[in-house]
Subunit: 248 residues, 2 copies
């Protein structure tokens, strides 16, 4: 057997996230179905993280073990011809036998997309959150800057999470205006449950004046979820890239 790393893209609209669940269709299950059809057995597939229901991915990574004889083309072409149109395998890399898609990830980049419009747009609403008014670039920029560096992000974590170490290092948090379709890009060495969606909800609250631009100070020091803003909906969020030390 050899270990392989797959980079996949998916439109998460119709899935209950990555992780296999009872009574709900997930991306992991669809991928395992396709791998079973391709390889004749059902492999374990280990993802780089969970994603919430409705969240999208451009560069989600997962690893699995497959027979030595399986060539790259069988994965890319074979798997893509079996997978539904809303999931695609983009890259395939053979990795060392102890490589782990989750534990070896040293960071991730998420993007949150918006569009500014008085009414919803059927061609944008699937992948972006509609805003009635443009974001206040100055206020949101100041809030984003205040998140950079190493902090205890517990206040930006959904309650009910069992993670003990809630300190993370944020290397990027940036609003790109891009006309009527702004985007917030966030990179960190790790993310807590709902962390990007709470950061984005807080950014919207800051933009609209419901929270001050320096609200992160209070959220970091108090670690209280209630000090942060609302949880932005999943449809605007995309897991854009996973960082590993190895170059593939």
């Amino acid at each position: 057997m050899k270990r392989v790393l797959l980079t996949i893209s998916y439109d998460g609209t119709d899935y209950h996230g990555w992780q296999v669940q009872n009574n709900a269709v997930t991306v992991q299950e669809k991928l395992q179905d396709a791998l079973q059809e391709l390889m004749g057995f059902r492999p374990d597939v280990t993802g780089c993280s969970r994603t919430d229901a409705g969240v999208h991915a451009r560069g989600f990574c997962c690893h699995l073990d497959c027979p030595e004889s399986f060539p790259e083309k069988a994965f890319l072409l074979g798997l893509n011809s079996i997978l539904p149109q809303d999931i695609a395998v983009r890259e395939f890399h053979e990795v060392r036998p102890d490589f782990h898609a989750r534990y070896d990830a040293c960071g991730k980049n998420y993007q949150y997309h918006f569009y500014v419009s008085k009414t919803h747009d059927p061609f944008l609403s699937r992948y972006a959150l509609r805003l009635e008014h443009p974001l206040d670039a100055e206020r949101v920029g100041a809030f984003c800057d205040s998140l950079l560096g190493t902090h205890d992000f517990k206040g930006f974590c959904a309650s009910g999470s069992s993670v003990e170490d809630t300190v993370r290092t944020m290397s990027e948090c940036r609003l790109t205006l891009n006309g009527e379709q702004p985007m917030i890009s966030v990179s960190a060495n790790g993310f807590l449950y709902n962390m990007v969606r709470i950061i984005v909800g807080t950014a919207i609250d800051v933009s609209e004046g419901r929270l001050p631009t320096d609200c992160a100070t209070e959220i970091f020091s108090s670690c209280r979820r209630e000090a942060a803003g609302f949880t932005a909906p999943p449809n605007g969020l995309i897991l854009n890239q996973v960082f590993y030390k190895e170059a593939f």
Copy 2:
């Protein structure tokens, strides 16, 4: 009562086209459902044309009669808050009492979108047809040019259509390369059943050398559907704009 013209956008993926049908969900039905909820009665709604199952629209037009007292805001905001995310009302215009969305249309513009990729892309496949190889701009350009002007387009019409006059005047037929996401834009004073999709399928056959660049000569003169290329799938097609003599 006053007559109003609505311009709507829709993602046609999950609909069996515009026109109400038994046992299939259509855009017209969803719009009538929403109007009924808004106005308290179920109005007749007359579309500018039918669209096939899976075809999208950015500027579909339809007319209906509504009480004099109904303000524009009630339509735009009220209707959009009721409609599903894949249908939106973009514009509202009061028109003369005998205005007719279909009979008064003097032309339409359709766009057919492609993307060039070895594997499918979950974020593009909903609204564009995947091509393995780029289109041959010179060959497709020559074919597109040969369609301009007034011709009998019967050979570009799906069999089974009962339309008697199959002569149409094409004012635009143009390939835009746009990097990896090319597009064919077609404008005419009217379109036959499946006409754009057959033109696009023929363009692909011309691009890949299965048909000569001057094949339209034979298709026009023989009026035989078999002389033209395949019918391109609906997902790449979008009804972009309907032209009326009146300016709104």
